[in-house]
Point group: C2
Chain length 365, copies 2
DNA sequence: CTGAAAGCGCTAACAA
DNA sequence: TTGTTAGCGCTTTCAG
């Protein structure tokens, strides 16, 4: 690693001033083609890599956007393995039966897709993307550190404590994704959770003639609550009995346990309407383990539209959030806020789409 | 957005010098508790967010690592949809039959998992992570830009042209992931592709008594080639006929086409040994469409160990790369290189694991 | 079209 | 323990 050359080195080698070097890179048209060329040659020969820190300091802008993601933990090839005794070892490579890979239940898979959207939009607009997600607890220092590195910040729901957010929101544009508005200066990208769930439930009732539906979800989560509301609306409109509360999928309960619990309570409902795809997938697994056929004995539906639900068998009927778009929209908003020095927060609600697949009893293909 | 306060503002408000402000954040123990406290109070009141640019410039280090990822394109809810006519519109929510979500075939899914590893390890070590991946072509400017923002860079295979790499490698530590060594100053994190495929093929031959195996993969890709070599080794050791070339899965051919082609050529082999999980999954779909049962009529195996293969039915037998570990290892190496100002590149090979699931004919569960 | 020069906000000697 | 001060490398007026 030789010392990194600076504008001074390049300027000297090209026989020009440092200003000209800077111009060559930032405002090429302002420099005479011949000098521009010699600067480029000098820079190339020296292996010049402009310092983003210096540029950022001089311009008062970093040119980067930030995404604060989950502080998830995933044990590689650990939990969730169906592993059993391994056959003979071959060529030093371990061989195991079944199992495998990341246990997606410990991680909200949809973030991958939202994140892709953020990445793509950032790059397209010439911004670099900084991904943050503190280790362990989300300390103020961690969030502040990344805030100090970017011109705008997108955050996933429930990742940054509100008091920290309150302070930051005065210093840098911040947009919260799929989190109901709760702070005056915060911009938002949301989705119509209630309408989506309402439409899905309508389908179950109208097209499949179901009347005994059970909603499963986490109670204190705003997204799940909005979805539950849509579920209730559908039942109410259909003149069916409207439950007060969803069946809670306590965070520690596995699908297997949930299903066992359900079976012990009496006959199954016509459908298990789940607040998320992951929950639905987990429950479908639990049903299989208990010998219950989906959708013949009970229909199961999800919400989110993650790829796994598409691959699962039966394929999961669900409400798809435009995840990539959410990420893109978040970036669009940030850029807007940054370039217009806007004072007021911007919010946008994206449409969802009901995807009828096999798990609700709809025909294959 | 009020003007962002600086050390000067904080210093003034706390009645100390800017150095003391800096010290309270960087070397707290060096400051008397009482003054430290008053500085913290002033900073909090002002909403002070230290500028990473200024710090980076002053220290000559950005405190961030970079990951250069793929320049992928994914159309939201576009390509790959099995969509057909939509039923009645409900509550403004579109309802479609089947289809859905991201079409994973257009994107090397394993990068998500490697990326997670990189993220986790970075955060754990207190580094920020910058994700880059130029739009359209990977121009020198794009790579250089991100190189100028970080202290070290991890790159996915085939994402950065070699000539650009050659220049950068002298200015900043770079580690290439799952790409065979090809540059003197480049560090590497690899996996034993050949041994893994060898072990998998051994299993097919020894445990399932198969003898007619066909390898499917992209020829000019080094990873696929190493895997093909392992495949050949297994056949050779078993005294079977060793094919010279794999069946090429030209990038444009879909699994459906590949299968059609295969069927037209005569009887199917005992197994289709695929170079990647995605290819295997695609081919399994193609086989289903053509009414061929897996694994009863033909076994199918993959390589990578992506989550989708776990969820697919039949579950995909494969060789799992420790993806998260690869990402982590890459970061470890970079940090090592950075802190020790090492002159020489470091490389590490990680072990793979054969996962026996359903698609090769192994019993369920 | 090019050069000179004044910062941008922070860190880290070095002094006090 | 705290303050003074000299840069870090680049951008950007303002002159020439």
């Amino acid at each position: 690693m030789g010392k990194r050359p600076t504008v001074y080195d390049v300027a000297e080698r090209a026989g020009v001033s440092i200003a000209t070097v800077s111009f060559t890179f930032r405002q090429p048209e302002r420099v005479k083609p011949s000098t521009r060329h010699s600067v480029l040659v000098a820079a190339g020969a020296l292996g010049y890599v402009p310092s983003a820190s210096a540029r950022g300091l001089a311009k008062g802008q970093t040119g980067a956007l930030g995404l604060f993601s989950f502080d998830y933990l995933r044990a590689e090839d650990a939990a969730g393995l169906t592993t059993s005794a391994a056959p003979a070892d071959r060529a030093g490579v371990e061989v195991v039966r079944g199992g495998g890979g990341t246990d997606f239940r410990h991680f909200p898979l949809y973030v991958d897709e939202v994140q892709r959207g953020v990445e793509l939009e950032c790059w397209q607009r010439g911004y670099a993307l900084l991904i943050g997600g503190g280790n362990q607890i989300t300390s103020e220092a961690v969030v502040t550190d990344i805030a100090g590195r970017v011109d705008g910040l997108a955050i996933f729901p429930h990742t940054v404590p509100n008091d920290i957010l309150d302070r930051l929101v005065h210093r840098i544009p911040i947009v919260a994704m799929s989190e109901p508005p709760h702070h005056d200066n915060l911009s938002h990208v949301t989705v119509d959770n209630a309408a989506g769930m309402r439409a899905l439930t309508d389908h179950l009732i109208a097209d499949h003639g179901m009347s005994d539906l059970l909603f499963v979800g986490r109670t204190p989560f705003s997204e799940d609550e909005a979805r539950f509301r849509g579920f209730q609306d559908a039942l109410r409109s259909a003149g069916l009995r409207v439950p007060r509360k969803p069946l809670s999928s306590g965070s520690e309960r596995t699908g297997h346990e949930l299903v066992a619990d359900l079976l012990s309570r009496g006959p199954l409902p016509h459908a298990l309407v789940c607040a998320t795809d992951e929950l639905a997938l987990d429950i479908m697994d639990g049903l299989v383990e208990h010998g219950v056929a989906v959708p013949h004995q009970v229909a199961v539906t999800g919400f989110d539209g993650i790829a796994a639900g598409h691959i699962a068998r039966p394929a999961l009927t669900t409400v798809r959030q435009p995840m990539e778009l959410m990420g893109r929209a978040a970036v669009e908003i940030l850029v807007e806020l940054i370039t217009h020095q806007a004072e007021h927060p911007v919010s946008r609600q994206l449409p969802v789409k009901v995807l009828l697949r096999e798990s609700c009893g709809c025909p294959t293909g």
